[in-house]
């Protein structure tokens, strides 16, 4: 992750928001000065060593620092990636809640609030809380008990109050942690966690050279071999954090896991009822000394799934998006991260290492689809004879090859070279003549049979058939949400799909800021490559003045770029060609930076608001006011307080939405 000025500022603001000013100042110093020892930090920040130790401890606790010990001195380095991840806290919790239930969310929240924790500490904290609650309930006094450490987190501080505790027993806690570990959402902390990636690489390079190439790496073959060894070593380090998961799987939990999954599905949305003691007893007790933390990489995979589902529901429909959600869940269960790491996951030919072709069958999806989803909805009805099953069922075994220009072939002309290769069988020619015989009637929609009755084939198809229809629709879509990779087998090519999604998002920004005409021009440039003004005018069917005004405006915004091509080597400006083109990657970088800055502004505005409402906020911090602001505070004060809260919510929500964009262009 590249740390620009805006990212640095954002990270320190986020840390300030969640962990306080002291760590934030240390973090800022580390980001701007690079890695430093404690005495150096003293110098940079002007703080005492004691203060610094406190701050560094907090940062380390949350994995926001890397350190390296050289000659007995620890060098600290800021971990901007994890600092940025703090902004996703709310989203991750929400995701956990919908897919694992509220108790799991509660556990995750404590884990997020307290940083990396030993299992024993977490259990102890929960034990205390449970005891406290039990005694509190006995006294029938629901007034003031600490609701865990989650107070500072910008969630709902009152969620745990006045209702049953989320986690009822330590056994349940154990089972929840097991489940999260198995889903890879939680992994373990190991010795290399605190080393930055370059440090790890350097250490491994030394190790590999010493072990396998004592005489140094020589020749082309040697280099390749060295790289392979390095990749292997790096993969090994990375997989260390999955040790707990492997241990759990060794205990033969596969069968039980299925059971649990069923339990979760049933418990979902039903206010977090436990799965019954029976299941929990089955879980192996975790090593209390094990230190666990959140695995953001895997969280991102799940967040990406959600994003894709949302995209499908926008472009196709809700029922289809449910199907897609199930498909993605099944497909990404074993997927550890969104993007492959070029240093270890990709071999010489640029192909992914150990990427066994994954596919999900229709039956699997059907088994996992919630029964509440009505598949008969969401797709229009037509007569069977108007469907070409040959085209719909087309199987494409291999992922599409990357194209230089999107949809280049589709845009120009009626038939281009790559279209004719599909071969027109007799079936089609028959169809064509067939079509010409019946002239297109001018009335709208007459070809679609509006058969709502029971006699329509759609209803007769049955649920598996309907499911297939949704999947085929996904496969046919221009975005290629799904690839029909074998008979009744489905897979997703994430890379091209995410590219499409990113472009769609960029288009949305362009349409909102530069209007539809701007969008048209950008998409023309993207489809056709570099064009001069005249060609652009002709394709876009726009006036010269309009085109000029729009492209210049968009060039300022960073959506299009211009290139000067001299006609001869005199390079006379008047005679030069000026070609417009569109470099999406540049646009993404520019927009991402704008988003960082906007996030900073949101947080800063929040701080301004806090300053303004200082007196009110001071009041709410009093222990006798906290928790029952409405009853205790005077009305005008309470109004100001609630208005502030509303604004706070708005601003945080906006920061989250800005992060949606960042996540899409940077991480997914």
């Amino acid at each position: 992750m590249q740390v620009t000025q805006n990212v640095a500022e954002l990270c320190s603001l986020l840390i300030d928001e969640l962990h306080g000013e002291l760590p934030s100042r240390i973090f800022r110093a580390l980001l701007s000065r690079g890695r430093a020892t404690l005495p150096q930090l003293c110098q940079y920040t002007g703080m005492s060593a004691l203060q610094l130790r406190h701050g560094v401890a907090v940062l380390l606790q949350h994995n926001l620092l890397y350190y390296q010990i050289d000659d007995g001195h620890a060098m600290y380095e800021a971990n901007a990636e994890f600092a940025y991840n703090l902004v996703r806290t709310g989203k991750i919790l929400e995701m956990i809640e919908t897919s694992f239930g509220p108790p799991a969310k509660d556990v995750m929240q404590s884990l997020l609030a307290s940083g990396q924790t030993r299992v024993a500490d977490l259990v102890a904290a929960y034990q205390e809380k449970i005891n406290h609650l039990n005694s509190a309930m006995q006294q029938d006094d629901d007034e003031d008990f600490p609701d865990l450490k989650a107070n500072g987190v910008n969630g709902h501080p009152h969620a745990a109050k006045k209702c049953d505790p989320m986690v009822k027993s330590t056994a349940q806690l154990n089972s929840i942690i097991c489940r999260l570990v198995e889903a890879e959402l939680i992994d373990v902390v190991h010795s290399k966690t605190f080393q930055s990636q370059p440090d790890v690489v350097k250490a491994l390079e030394k190790e590999v050279t010493d072990k396998h190439f004592p005489g140094g790496v020589k020749g082309g073959r040697g280099k390749i071999e060295f790289q392979e060894k390095m990749a292997e070593a790096l993969r090994k380090v990375r997989s260390e954090s999955k040790s707990l998961k492997r241990k759990l799987e060794q205990n033969g939990t596969a069968a039980k896991r299925r059971k649990l999954f069923a339990g979760v599905a049933a418990a979902n949305g039903t206010n977090g009822t436990t799965n019954g003691v029976h299941d929990e007893e089955l879980d192996p007790a975790l090593d209390p000394k094990q230190v666990i933390r959140i695995n953001y990489e895997k969280c991102l995979v799940d967040l990406r799934n959600r994003r894709l589902v949302h995209f499908v529901s926008e472009t196709i429909g809700d029922a289809t998006s449910h199907v897609y959600g199930v498909l993605l869940r099944l497909l990404t269960k074993q997927l550890p991260r969104c993007r492959l790491d070029p240093s270890m996951d990709v071999n010489q030919d640029g192909e992914a290492v150990d990427a066994e072709p994954k596919a999900v069958t229709t039956a699997q999806i059907l088994d996992n689809l919630k029964t509440a989803v009505d598949l008969s909805l969401g797709i229009g009805k037509t007569a069977m004879k108007e469907i070409s099953s040959k085209s719909a069922e087309k199987i494409s075994e291999f992922p599409p090859k990357p194209k230089l220009f999107i949809a280049e072939a589709e845009v120009d002309g009626e038939a281009s070279a790559d279209e004719s290769d599909e071969g027109s069988s007799s079936d089609e020619s028959g169809y064509d003549s067939d079509f010409k015989n019946q002239p297109a009637s001018a009335t709208n929609g007459t070809k679609v049979t509006f058969a709502d009755g029971d006699d329509n084939p759609w209803q007769r198809m049955g649920r598996p058939g309907q499911l297939r229809q949704h999947l085929l629709l996904l496969a046919e879509s221009n975005q290629h949400f799904v690839r029909h990779c074998g008979h009744d087998e489905w897979t997703v090519d994430f890379e091209p799909l995410m590219r499409t999604l990113r472009e769609a998002e960029l288009d949305a920004v362009i349409e909102r800021t530069s209007g539809r005409q701007g969008l048209r021009l950008v998409r023309i440039l993207r489809a056709n490559g570099k064009l001069d003004e005249k060609a652009l005018m002709n394709v876009a069917l726009m006036r010269k003045a309009e085109v000029q005004q729009k492209v210049v405006q968009m060039q300022k915004a960073g959506f299009v770029q211009i290139q000067e091509v001299p006609r001869d080597n005199k390079s006379d400006v008047k005679k030069s060609f000026f070609l417009w083109f569109c470099d999406v990657d540049k646009s993404y970088i520019k927009l991402a930076d704008n988003s960082y800055k906007s996030m900073i502004r949101c947080l800063q505005v929040l701080e301004v608001l806090r300053q303004k409402e200082k007196d009110v906020l001071m009041l709410t911090r009093r222990t006798d006011v906290k928790g029952r602001e409405k009853d205790v505070m005077r009305k005008e004060y309470y109004d100001r307080y609630s208005r502030f809260q509303e604004n706070e919510r708005k601003l945080f929500a906006q920061v989250m939405r800005l992060d949606d964009f960042i996540a899409l262009v940077r991480d997914f």
């Binding site: 809700d318 037509t382 469907i387 085209s391 001018a442 679609v448 288009d507 800021t513």
Partner: protein
């Protein structure tokens, strides 16, 4: 005497050759020497005679010598045109006229004439003036070079390249015409590429709730309200919902919500649907309805319109077998009010947007995303988060910061 006889003979042969050439091809056909010999007017062994005849015809302006890839060749010219040439007073005028004639329907720039003939400007000017008053040539405008003075033979219509094709009226791009046609094309594609069905369930919680089965709903219609089958609530309720609870923070414009007709929604058609409209079908529709009363649009022109819509992100190409059709994007969000019902609004001047606007994202909906002074914004600078008026507006904080009111306002 022999001379006169010879002259008559040649005159006769000239007429014969001319009529034969006319029989054998149009004005644009080029006849080589061999072609002319093979016409059988002149005996094959006598090229000198042929030369004489051709020379005579060229003098009469009935033949035009041209350079063809295979050597010199001739075209015939009709007698009326030839008469025009012969009626011209001097050689200069004739040359100017010839060069304009040659340029054909594309027309020619007056500077090019001067350049090609290497004549003085005043001479060219005089010739052009003379020809214009005679009504032989006319000045014209070329869309590609609107500032150049071009001339064309008076009896020709400027070519498509010069006028810019059907999209130009009087040398100007006719955007109103294009927009209207785009609207029609889009409507046609929309209605033909998606299925208009009833709304299954209230939109807000459709993701969670099971969509009610059709039979059950009848009982649950409140207050005996008669709703169409398969509709749980009236459309007004639904649209109110949309305004109150923006889905994913996407505020739906009230106007857009109310433009939904009763509980109808477009659904995508199943995969493999064969009848997505193609360009030729659209062309046929435009042709049949005769909306473009005096302009004929070719399929390529329609393709241009359709491409425009594709670039706007409103439609997308689908290929089923070898048929390339087009379908609407994001069908479920499309306006379902029929085209003719919206005519009133259009006449009243309400802007009729095609399709749906893309949903905004965090960036476009934060004040910063549309801030005109975003690049200047810095804590401690003239514009800073602490005195930002846009945020004050956006958050609706009443006692606004005592900052200078900006001239423009942003709608969020």
């Amino acid at each position: 005497m022999a001379d006169v006889g010879d002259h008559n003979k040649i005159q006769l042969l000239k007429d014969l050759l001319y009529s034969e050439a006319q029989e054998h091809g149009s004005e644009s056909r080029m006849f080589s020497q061999k072609d002319l010999t093979d016409l059988g007017v002149v005996p094959p062994g006598d090229p000198a005679l042929l030369l004489k005849i051709i020379q005579g015809l060229c003098d009469d302006k009935l033949f035009v010598g041209v350079n063809s890839p295979t050597g010199i060749a001739w075209r015939w010219r009709n007698k009326e045109d030839a008469k025009k040439y012969t009626s011209l007073p001097n050689d200069e005028t004739m040359m100017v006229y010839a060069i304009i004639d040659e340029a054909g329907a594309d027309g020619i720039w007056n500077r090019t004439i001067k350049h090609k003939l290497n004549m003085h400007e005043s001479v060219v000017k005089n010739c052009i003036k003379y020809l214009e008053t005679k009504g032989y040539i006319a000045s014209m405008k070329n869309v590609e070079h609107p500032n150049k003075k071009m001339y064309i033979k008076a009896n020709l219509r400027p070519s498509d390249r010069a006028t810019g094709g059907p999209w130009f009226t009087d040398g100007e791009l006719d955007t109103a015409f294009i927009e209207m046609l785009e609207g029609i094309v889009f409507e046609y594609i929309k209605t033909r590429s998606a299925y208009l069905g009833s709304q299954p369930a209230p939109r807000g919680d459709a993701s969670r709730l099971k969509a009610p089965k059709k039979g059950v709903i009848k009982g649950s219609v409140p207050d005996g309200e008669t709703a169409p089958r398969g509709v749980k609530r009236a459309a007004t309720d639904i649209s109110n919902d949309d305004v109150a609870v923006p889905v994913n923070g996407d505020p739906i414009h009230p106007a857009a919500a109310s433009s939904r007709s009763k509980g109808k929604i477009y659904y995508p058609l199943p995969a493999g649907y064969r009848q997505y409209p193609t360009v030729s079908e659209i062309a046929q529709l435009i042709h049949q309805t005769g909306i473009t009363n005096n302009t004929t649009l070719s399929e390529a022109d329609i393709q241009q319109l359709v491409d425009g819509l594709y670039y706007d992100g409103l439609i997308e190409p689908v290929k089923v077998n070898n048929r390339r059709g087009y379908r609407v994007t994001r069908p479920k969000k499309q306006d379902t009010v029929p085209f003719d019902k919206r005519q009133k609004d259009r006449e009243a001047g309400v802007i009729d947007r095609m399709g749906v606007e893309t949903t905004g994202n965090g960036l476009t909906e934060t004040p910063c995303g549309r801030c005109p002074v975003f690049d200047l914004c810095e804590e401690g600078g003239p514009v800073s988060p602490s005195n930002c008026v846009y945020f004050v507006q956006w958050l609706d904080v009443e006692d606004a910061a005592p900052a200078v009111k900006p001239t423009g306002s942003i709608a969020v």
